[in-house]
């Protein structure tokens, strides 16, 4: 499946990145996945600031880890929701933590979903497949035609 919609993965761990990309491939989600390796990079990409900014960069969904260098995941979320152009951008928190505090804070800051990465790769693949189906195919966002 590749409907031309872009995915932004915000993940600092190379292993996690590799596994996530592999899980997308396994679940037959062939959309382009851009990877930001820290919070600042993600913000630069999304808010079209900094050097090498791509003015046409407009992902369909953001998969956001919480534990990130420079700018933490929750801060990224807060700043995205503060900006008009990214106010409604679907952001899925994808993390190892299942602490209640993290879940509550993520939703308070406007996360669209909260998914805990299972240790088992097969389960992880299933989860990503479900995510892809919902957010890339079923979900509608304002302004997208």
């Amino acid at each position: 499946m590749n409907n031309g919609k872009l995915i932004l993965l915000v993940e600092d761990n190379a292993d996690e990145e590799l596994l996530t990309l592999r899980a997308f491939r396994k679940s037959n989600i062939l959309n382009e996945v851009r990877v930001a390796r820290d919070g600042q990079e993600a913000l630069d990409l999304l808010l079209r600031a900094g050097q090498g900014a791509d003015p046409a960069f407009a992902p369909q969904v953001v998969l956001l880890d919480l534990n990130l260098p420079k700018v933490g995941g929750l801060d990224v979320l807060k700043r995205l929701r503060a900006r008009e152009e990214t106010r409604f951008l679907p952001v899925i928190v994808l993390t190892s933590s299942k602490q209640d505090e993290d879940v509550i804070r993520s939703y308070s800051l406007g996360a669209n979903a909260y998914v805990r990465k299972p240790v088992d790769f097969a389960q992880f693949t299933e989860a990503l497949e479900a995510l892809g189906l919902f957010w890339l195919v079923l979900n509608e966002v304002p302004g997208a035609s």
Partner: protein
């Protein structure tokens, strides 16, 4: 001057004793004065009052006896006159103290003189003597009679002003004694009342100050101590209360410091477990994911042994993830703040069993749930208890096609005891002590999977509620877990 209660009480008793002594002394003094006056009346005035008429009567009889003897011309009758004389004189002996001795002897002399003269005249008249000589004797006799009378009067006359004076002295003495008694009693009363008032005022002030201070201490304010009033026993109590307050203040400061330290270490533990949860799982996921990836990518080239090894790597990583989750859950039990509210355990058990049935729909388990079992406790933690215990029962009855699981409670020695019973694999009572130790398992992992932390978590939850948990079991017959949720009547 500050006196303690002992001194004040001693003073009170002393005043009473002194007053009593004064009353006794005054009474004795006045009694002595009254006594002496009464004695004077008795010894001096009364004998005279009695003596007067008798002596006069005797004297008159004496005089008549001479006249009678002369009229009868009977010399023998003069003998009775002599008797009368000695009677008369005999009366004077007992009154020697009441009458001046000189007067008495004068009277004796006068009566003897008169008697002698009267006898001489009487004898001469009886003998019919006449003449100038006899008339002279009679005149002398008359003179002596007159003199005897005078002496008699002197002896018997009563000193009336003296008597009145004696009675007046008596009544005055009694009056004075009464006045003294009145004043002493009054002053004693006033002193006792004043001292008691001072005493009780001191006590009340000290007590109210002490009460206010203790109330402050009770509310946890130790900065202002009890005012120590005076130097009595209550002041000593106040000092001890202040000492106690200082100790309590020190303890409370120490406790505050310990609480701060505990909060700090709790925060650190929180950060630690967060980091464990988050950071330890990433490598596990990598191990699991890459072993699967390897298996997939090698595809057909993987033979059975290699496949098994890769599976084991993946399974081990997954199991470690479960252990981490269980450990975190257990450590959270000790850290979260305990809520206490009414929890419907029957409904919670029903929900748990419904979920278990949903996961393993082909299991035929007969679950008997006692209605209306409620408990006071933390809803989330109590649900965790039931999830664990019922989950265990479910798991360990897995080999039975017709398993029975029951939940309920009973009252044992005034204590509500909750239970979860099953007729599953059971356990050997010899190992019962290991049941609640983390990572201790009584069954092989291949037989019944699990983390080995569930019952340890349950025990912590029960203990945090102040309750106890214990188990009974028999191999291949079943297990029963009992727990209470509040400190039992028999103590810890």
């Amino acid at each position: 001057m500050r006196l303690n209660f002992r001194a004040k009480l001693t003073a009170l008793v002393g005043i009473a004793a002194v007053a009593l002594l004064l009353v006794i002394v005054v009474g004795a003094t006045s009694a002595r004065r009254v006594d002496s006056q009464l004695e004077a009346v008795q010894q001096y005035y009364l004998p005279r009052l009695e003596l007067g008429p008798k002596l006069e009567g005797d004297f008159e009889q004496l005089r008549r006896s001479f006249q009678d003897a002369v009229a009868a011309r009977d010399r023998d009758a003069l003998a009775s006159a002599a008797e009368l004389k000695s009677t008369l004189l005999g009366r004077l002996d007992p009154v020697r103290g009441a009458v001046a001795p000189a007067d008495v002897s004068d009277l004796r002399v006068a009566i003897e003189d008169y008697f002698a003269a009267a006898r001489e005249v009487s004898e001469r008249l009886i003998a019919d003597e006449t003449g100038e000589d006899l008339i002279g004797a009679m005149a002398r006799m008359q003179e002596k009679q007159q003199r005897a009378r005078e002496r008699l009067e002197r002896v018997t006359v009563v000193d009336r002003p003296g008597l009145a004076n004696a009675f007046a002295t008596i009544s005055r003495a009694e009056e004075v004694a009464g006045t003294y008694r009145l004043w002493i009693s009054l002053s004693c009363l006033v002193a006792a009342v004043a001292l008691s008032w001072a005493l009780s005022r001191g006590v009340l002030r000290s007590l109210s100050e002490l009460g206010a201070g203790l109330e402050r201490f009770g509310e946890g304010h130790f900065d202002k101590g009890v005012d120590v009033i005076g130097g009595d026993e209550l002041a000593e109590v106040a000092k001890q209360a202040n000492r106690m307050a200082r100790s309590l203040a020190r303890l409370s400061r120490e406790r505050e410091r310990a609480e701060v330290a505990l909060k700090q270490s709790n925060r650190e533990l929180e950060a630690f477990s967060y980091s464990v949860a988050h950071d330890l799982r990433a490598p596990l996921r990598a191990i699991n994911g890459f072993s699967r990836a390897l298996m997939e990518d090698l595809g057909e080239k993987v033979d059975g042994d290699l496949k098994d090894l890769l599976n084991r790597i993946g399974a081990a990583a997954q199991r470690m993830g479960e252990l981490i989750d269980a450990l975190l859950a257990m450590s959270r039990v000790s850290r979260v703040e305990l809520q206490r509210e009414r929890v419907d355990l029957t409904r919670a058990a029903e929900t748990t069993v419904r979920q278990l049935r949903a996961i393993t729909p082909n299991r035929g388990v007969d679950f008997s749930n006692q209605p209306n079992v409620v408990a006071e406790g933390d809803p989330a933690l109590l649900r965790a208890v039931l999830d664990n215990l019922l989950g265990n029962a479910w798991k360990f009855t897995g080999a039975r096609p017709d398993a029975h699981i029951s939940f309920g409670c009973s009252l044992q020695e005034g204590e509500t005891v909750y239970f979860v019973k099953d007729d599953g694999a059971g356990f050997d009572m010899a190992h019962a002590s290991k049941l609640f130790t983390p990572f201790q398992r009584l069954h092989q992992a291949g037989e019944f999977p699990g983390t080995g932390i569930g019952l340890a978590t349950v025990q912590r939850i029960v203990q945090r509620h102040g309750g106890r948990i214990w188990a009974e079991g028999k191999v291949r017959e079943g297990a029963a877990f009992y727990f209470t949720l509040s400190p039992g009547a028999q103590g810890t």
